[in-house]
């Protein structure tokens, strides 16, 4: 490449991008640039490999117990009963709860950080929220088990039963561990995801949008709700869907506070199970080919669902074209 004098000197910016039109590049170029490309291929292969391996390993489960297990709630592996419905129910209820709680708070916090607070204050607060995202899930779990669950049992669940006990959702015994506790813990865990991504999206809304609204005499709140939020809607939905993906797949924190009982109950106080938590709780103790196969099948299903949720979310977030901050979850 370096020998190709004219090309290099006259259009240097193109030298890297137009390999096909150039004379064969040097050996060093071919090796090192080839390595970079190989690394990119490897990343691609890892994701495709995950997909293929998990799909293939789910197959024995589908073959041996069939798809009918999705209709049954009876989970008793020692006698060959593999009803999965209660796990699906538990997963849906806890992650919906998490979104209902974290969504409004997260969007509110994002509005403050992006629009309301002075930058001097927004930066450190955003930093704190990033740190909340960095807390390992097992730490949320131990906190949930020893601090949140007792408070739920002695204070929050009795209070809910007193005030909203006419709803079937808030009836029954106060266990402390259960779907409500898991939902609240998940809400705390996904709160930073909602906040950080919504904030990026809000900051990408063009200034004109705000100025036009203010020029019409709107208050700041009216400006936010009528000019900024509608513009950012698809991105914020994307942020919520990403949070949903994280809540669906969270295993460790949930397994410590949900009570691990394969049952469907209308009461949010009741112990339950989720797809991720049954995997975390039972996989290493599973005996017998079929039991292991079914658990792997649950894991594969979880992977597929979270892939779909994530792809949808990324497409929504990407459509807004907001620049992203460094993020690890």
């Amino acid at each position: 490449m370096a020998q190709d004098g004219t090309d290099v000197v006259t259009v240097p910016a193109l030298t890297l991008r137009s390999r096909r039109r150039r004379a064969p590049s040097g050996l060093g170029d071919r090796i090192v640039l080839g390595l970079f490309a190989a690394a990119a291929w490897l990343v691609l292969l890892v994701v495709v490999g995950l997909f293929v391996v998990l799909l293939i390993s789910a197959w024995p489960a589908v073959q041996s117990v069939g798809i009918r297990v999705l209709e049954s709630t009876a989970w008793d592996p020692t006698s060959g009963k593999y009803g999965l419905l209660s796990f699906i129910y538990g997963t849906l209820v806890t992650s919906t709860l998490a979104l209902l709680l974290a969504g409004p708070v997260g969007i509110g916090a994002a509005l403050l950080l992006a629009e309301v607070a002075p930058r001097r204050l927004a930066t450190p607060v955003a930093m704190l929220i990033e740190l909340l995202a960095a807390v390992p899930s097992v730490v949320f779990g131990i906190w949930g088990l020893f601090v949140l669950a007792p408070v739920m049992r002695t204070v929050i669940e009795p209070a809910l039963a007193r005030s909203l006990g006419f709803l079937p959702l808030f009836q029954g015994y106060f266990y402390g561990v259960g779907m409500l506790t898991a939902g609240i813990l998940l809400a705390i865990m996904v709160l930073p995801t909602v906040t950080a991504i919504s904030r990026d999206i809000l900051e990408a809304v063009p200034r004109d949008q705000r100025e036009a609204m203010l020029a019409l005499g709107a208050t700041r709140w009216e400006m936010l709700t009528r000019a900024v939020l509608p513009y950012a809607r698809s991105g914020i939905v994307g942020a919520l869907v990403l949070a949903l993906g994280r809540a669906l797949g969270e295993a460790m924190a949930v397994v410590m506070v949900i009570g691990n009982k394969p049952a469907i109950s209308l009461s949010l106080f009741a112990p339950a199970y989720t797809m991720a938590s049954v995997l975390a709780n039972e996989f290493t103790e599973a005996t017998g080919k079929q039991y292991v196969a079914v658990l792997i099948g649950i894991g594969s299903a979880l992977f597929l669902i979270s892939m779909l949720v994530n792809i949808g979310a990324r497409l929504l977030v990407r459509r807004v074209g907001a620049p992203q901050r460094m993020r690890t979850r």
């Binding site: 240097p12 990343v43 916090a109 709140w221 295993a251 901050r325 460094m326 690890t328």
Partner: protein, 278 residues
């Protein structure tokens, strides 16, 4: 609606946004305070030097878990970080067309894959063929979790470097690979280090993928091919045990984890504070 009413609503709702952010910050504070309070009691000298003891015998520690965590995260870093950096450079400077788009998109998606599913993958491709749990299989799972973080941060960091300096090097007759490795990459050093540190921080706290790879152990283990304990795994196993002194060890482990992860995060963001641009 009258102006006064609209303004009152404005003040009220802006106040609500303050409340929302306050809730988020307060939650972090509450969790950290509890972990520090409960965990600090476990921090005596033997905590860092001893093996866990059987129930009822004082003086137990988590030294084997610390060694196991260092070993698995260390191996994962060796596998994951170089590949991630190279792929990131590829995306920033060389990649075009469908491959770059696919890698970019899939690594974003990979960030959202449940870590327990990645553990299951490592179990299937490493533990099952080898027929035993191992630190190595755990590091494979952790390396996969690290990849997208390193790839995307490296890409953004390298992209931020002014292309003119690389073009200058090319114009002086430098080969492309030398221009990238010795001119562009050193300029992006801070961002690349940040990506590496953040990825280490992320996987240091991961417990779900270790359940069926590292598996856990009560003893010292220095071999990559043996089952090993790791700090997040120990926190989980001892927290759900019914014994007070084991729970105490779990709180100590949680505090050690939080300190390590926070230090790495704060360092990483101090090294490269600029917001990244896609």
């Amino acid at each position: 609606m009258s102006l006064a009413l609209r303004q009152a609503k404005n003040v009220l709702m802006l106040g609500v946004t303050w409340l929302c952010a306050g809730v988020a910050a307060a939650l972090l504070a509450i969790i950290v305070i509890y972990v520090v309070e409960r965990g600090a009691a476990a921090f005596h000298r033997s905590f860092f030097t001893n093996l866990p003891t059987p129930v009822g015998i004082p003086g137990g520690g988590v030294a084997n878990a610390i060694v196991g965590s260092l070993m698995t995260v260390g191996m994962a870093s060796v596998f994951g970080i170089p590949v991630g950096i190279m792929a990131g450079i590829y995306l920033a400077l060389l990649g075009r067309g469908w491959l770059a788009d696919a890698v970019r998109f899939l690594s974003d998606v990979l960030t959202g894959v449940p870590s327990i599913a990645i553990g299951l993958f490592a179990y299937t491709i490493v533990v099952v063929p080898q027929k035993h749990f191992s630190a190595f299989s755990a590091s494979v799972a952790l390396a996969i979790i690290m990849l997208p973080i390193v790839v995307r941060t490296t890409e953004e960091a390298v992209r931020l470097v002014n292309p003119a300096i690389r073009e200058g090097a090319l114009a002086l007759g430098m080969e492309a690979w030398k221009a990238i490795l010795f001119v562009t990459v050193p300029c992006a050093r801070a961002g690349i280090v940040t990506g590496a540190l953040l990825s280490i921080a992320r996987v240091s706290g991961e417990s779900a993928p270790l359940l069926f790879t590292a598996f856990g152990s009560q003893f010292w283990s220095f071999s990559p091919s043996a089952p090993t304990e790791a700090l997040p795994l120990l926190v989980f196993q001892y927290a759900i045990s019914p014994y007070r002194d084991w729970q105490q060890l779990a709180w100590g482990g949680a505090l050690a984890l939080i300190i390590f992860v926070f230090l790495l995060n704060v360092t990483a963001r101090a090294v490269f504070p600029a917001r990244s641009v896609r």
